[in-house]
Amino acid sequence: MTTQTVPKTAMSMRLGPRPGEVIDRGREFTFTWNGDEYPAYRGDTIISALAACGERIFSRSFKYHRPRGLLSASFVDPGCMVQVDDEPNVRGAHRRVEPGMVVSPQGVWPSLEYDVKSANGALGRFISAGFYYKTFIKPRRLWPVYRRMLRRFSAGGKVSPNSAQGYFDKRYAHPDVIVAGGGPAGMAAAVAAAESGAQVLLVEEEHELGGHLRWGNEADLEALRGLRDEVARTPGIEVMTNSVVNGRYDDNWVAVMQRNLPHVEERLVKARAKTLVAAPGLIERPYVFEGNDTPGVILSTAARRLINLYAVKPGTRAVVFSANGSGDAAVEDLGRSDVEVVRVVDARMGGDVVRVKGGKGVRSVECADGTEIECDLLVTAVGWTAPTSLMNMAGDRPVYNEKAARFFSSYLPDDVLTCGGIAGDGTLGELLAHASATGGEAARRAAKSARRLRGGSPQATEAQDPESRTPPEEIPELPVYEHPALFRGRTHGIVDFSEDVTSKDLVAAEKEGYDSIELVKRYTTVTMGPAQGKLETVNAVAIMAAATGRTIAETGTTVWRPPYAPVTLGALAGRIFEPVRYSPMQPWHERRGAQPLVAGAWIRPDHYGDPASEVLGVRKNVGIIDVTPLGKFDLRGPDVPRLLNHLYVNKWDNLGVGAVRYGVMCLEDGVVFDDGVTGRLGPERYIMTATSSGAAGVWEWIDNWLQTAHPEWRIHITPVTTAYASINVAGPKSRELLLRLTDGVDLSPDAFPYMRVRTGRIAGVDGCFMWRIGFTGELSYEIHVPAAYGLHMWEALMQRGADLGVGPFGVEAQRILRLEKGHFIVGQDTDGLTGPYDVGLGRMVKLDKDDFTGKPELVWQSGRNDRFRLVGLQPHDGSLVPPEASQIVQGKSEIVGRITSSRMSPTLGRSICLGFVAPHLTTPGTKVIVQLPHGGRIPASVTPHHAHYDPEGTRQRG
């Protein structure tokens, strides 16, 4: 394959100018297909440009690798999926060709013309329904081999990991009316709705409005011009072409994929439509017979699109099999396009085609009367499929109408209406009148919904007349025309062109006992390919009905689910919203090269290079840590003590002003939920803290108690987590450092002892409060500073403490410090079953309180001695740190505990742990065996306290 500079082919099948053509003959350019250069006009699709040059094979089929040409010449055309540059699975009959595009066929090897895998075609009868299920089951060890082999045979394109990142957008919209489908009915409905005052979003899958009028006759084109003018003239209509309504969800939440934007690959519009008008038109159905997938067998609408939109001659000698006006119109179009129509087989007169002969293209057609006609084109017009997807998604279960040989809606909610061919038949005038009335009614219902929506919202202006009752629009009944029921002929052929499922497969599946259409679908994969049933569903149903001896109505259809058309993953991912939170000291941490730690939404400094020396700095001198993420709540009101008594397991009645107390919260199931300290700043003013990760949950939980159980309690709660920058100043020299910065607060141990809170001015900042608590086990002050001054405070501490050896420490150092001190962390050392008794806090639980959360469970827990308990653990070999979550075992494999926290202690120079052990192992000194995750077992002993360091707590009280 070599790239040539001169187009290999001339546009040999291009016709002279057509009145409705969408190509611009003044703008000719070239593009590459399958390694060769081809000419095209602006406005051509990839496939129309290739067809104009006489190309007829565009892909190889999914299973049998049969050559495939165009069938419907529309978005859904299964034979026209191609690779464009590094974009796979492009709808070649929809995508407009552009200068320089490099287009290649997909899944062919070694080439499109000579695909060795088409040997499958000869073996076709073996690759029947369930073939893969049955053949590649045993032996299991060969699964990877099968997978590699089968992947070669699949027809998808190639995804390049090096593709440039496109911009995929998302946006919300609130139209009154969405009209899905911009054919004549959709346009008329949109105009009528907009004229009634509605804001309308008119969405059309193709590149232009107009539907079938676009490839129609002079009268159709005249009507099209009129409708387009009206749409353009009417204010309040937003038109989205090359876009598709992809799903309708509860309360008319409608997903629209917009593809007509210049700098956006695709935009997902999440629209809350007040009413939805489905006007998708009808999709022409293929006929099932032998050879029906041969290149050159096309639908009447495909022939008409090629001729009238792109001025492309679909063949030279044609047979037309017609059961309706579309077939008859195709005969006329072909006749006017220098195509010799050698035979019209009229289904309405009992005519039928039996089989097509030919390999890479139609050679002849055999008719039911026994004649065989040589030709290169067979055009079929056997009927229509109603694409009821959006109605299905609104709860509709369409029913089959025998007279019209297609499905009609049986139920629609008030906020979904239909018009156009999906709603009935009729002259263009009748259909437009029906659509206009439908659009008007959609606007009326939308206005009613809007009034109701606004009525409930405190922001909206008062609706002028919320009770006004415009009478419903009179929507005329549409006639239903008789249409012959043509699904499968006298021979077997392809039903699902995407998945290569034949009518034989369906019949065989029924014989194997798959007698429901939903089961057959999943067993044979019929309707599950890229066409998603739009071409093949009704044929599959009809064939199943015939096989089971039931009617089509009894057989029913499969359910159409979102999306209506395939969606790119980029469109779904779109712009990603992932809120992150930073403390006011983040700029300092970044400058200092802190290793970031992602803790929920918070980005925190894990360490500044060496956590072990950070630990030693705190033990020896003084360290400061940014603990801003600590949850903080301002609680006010006379009933705060009642709330505290209710939430915490301990008692709070006698907490004096200036005092701080530690508390543990359990949920109603008696499981430890959160812990922290609460301090009393004034007679009716408290600050409660919660863990960083638990803060949001605690806030919501308190709101729940106050709003649903005790609205009579006079309490105001305000989250102040980020109103204050929080800094823990810890270490033997912390008092000395703070003395240099604090105004008007007596820091002497007697005046400001352990577990007390003081307010005042620090480093020139008013409105600070600080308390003495001891998570690290050292003398420490947690200072809380109005957040805008957090960075100022941090820098002041660093500057004024330089001679004291002050240094920052991160989350990792804090975790080591607290583990040395034996403090557990909720969620790290506890899990969803841990009660307060299990972690050694039983004496805190005051069961004599009248009521508090989880009381019955805690009463129950208090009487038990069969639960695992948290203990300190010391590995005998102090150089080994068993990883967290290592199991503690006995005997061969009995699990009797687990390590919840483990670190190397820089202070003690050996490994230290906390862990849960079974009740019989809790006695200090008990030897337990720790199973390491990657093999090996090590002994450890239960320590007398959780604390490995300063268990008496003399340092923090200093």
């Binding site: 957008d169 998302k170 946006r171 919300y172 919209a173 609130h174 804001q199 700098h263 999440k270 809350r272 809007a450 929506l453 606004r454 919202s457 405190p458 922001q459 909206a460 202006t461 712009r575 919203f577 992932e578 809120p579 992150v580 939170r581 930073y582 403390s583 006011p584 700029p587 939404a601 918070w602 801003t628 993420p629 301002d634 006010r636 009101g637 006379p638 006079r714 309490i715 105001h716 305000t718 989250p719 102040v720 987590t721 980020t722 109103a723 204050y724 240099r740 105004d743 480093a763 020139g764 900042v765 409105g767 109005p786 957040a787 805008a788 001054y789 957090g790 960075l791 100022h792 405070m793």
Partner: protein
């Protein structure tokens, strides 16, 4: 002891050049773009919690879901049921709180300085609606959210208070969220506004 006067900082890194305005470090950049964004974090933000039928509620005169200017130019936002947010010029928090505390409220009333706890942004220009439709599911149509509408909803997946506060007849919205997510909200708005040519316009007092 002698301290240099501390500089207050917004959670949103100011776009250089910077200056100090009412004790706050702010961007000195000026823009005449169609779509502008201003970090208004320096504004005093007072939170009032009280019963919806008490004396304070009557004095504030703004129901939940609406915002209106008080006599002194303070913007009173009915930000929640029984919850108001007052926005006033930088540094005026003590005065505003004093006014509120003077109101004789029978029931429980709380007046808090939320200046430090929130980030506050203003976006201005006709294109704000297009920008917001990229990050928020609320309907910003005139009939649904007219001038003076106060809404709390999700903006770029962040709980955010939105106040429509038009300026000079042109659309303008105040957005506030808890402080630590301020930079995130700013970044999300800048990203969404990129296609509309959004530009930073520095804060100038009194700014409300």
């Amino acid at each position: 002891m002698a301290e240099t006067a501390p500089v207050a900082r917004s959670p949103i890194a100011p776009v250089p050049p910077t200056t100090v305005e009412h004790g706050w470090e702010v961007s000195a950049r000026r823009s005449a773009a169609e779509l502008k964004i201003t970090d208004c974090t320096p504004l005093a933000k007072i939170l009032v919690l009280a019963s919806t039928d008490g004396e304070l509620a009557r004095a504030l005169g703004v129901p939940f879901g609406r915002a209106a200017r008080g006599a002194s130019g303070t913007l009173v936002v009915g930000s929640g049921p029984g919850e108001w947010l007052l926005l006033a010029p930088p540094g005026t928090a003590p005065e505003v709180m004093g006014c509120m505390e003077e109101v004789a409220e029978e029931g429980l009333a709380s007046v808090l300085d939320a200046t430090h706890g929130r980030a506050l942004l203003r976006i201005s220009g006709a294109l704000t609606v297009a920008l917001l439709s990229k990050v928020c599911a609320i309907d910003f149509a005139e009939e649904v959210t007219p001038n003076g509408a106060a809404i709390r909803s999700s903006v770029a997946k962040l709980v955010t208070d939105i106040v429509r506060d038009d300026r000079g007849g042109s659309r303008s919205y105040l957005l506030h969220c808890e402080r630590s997510s301020g930079q995130y909200l700013f970044d999300a708005l800048m990203d969404a506004g990129d296609e509309f040519g959004i530009e930073v316009d520095g804060f100038v007092g009194p700014g409300i």
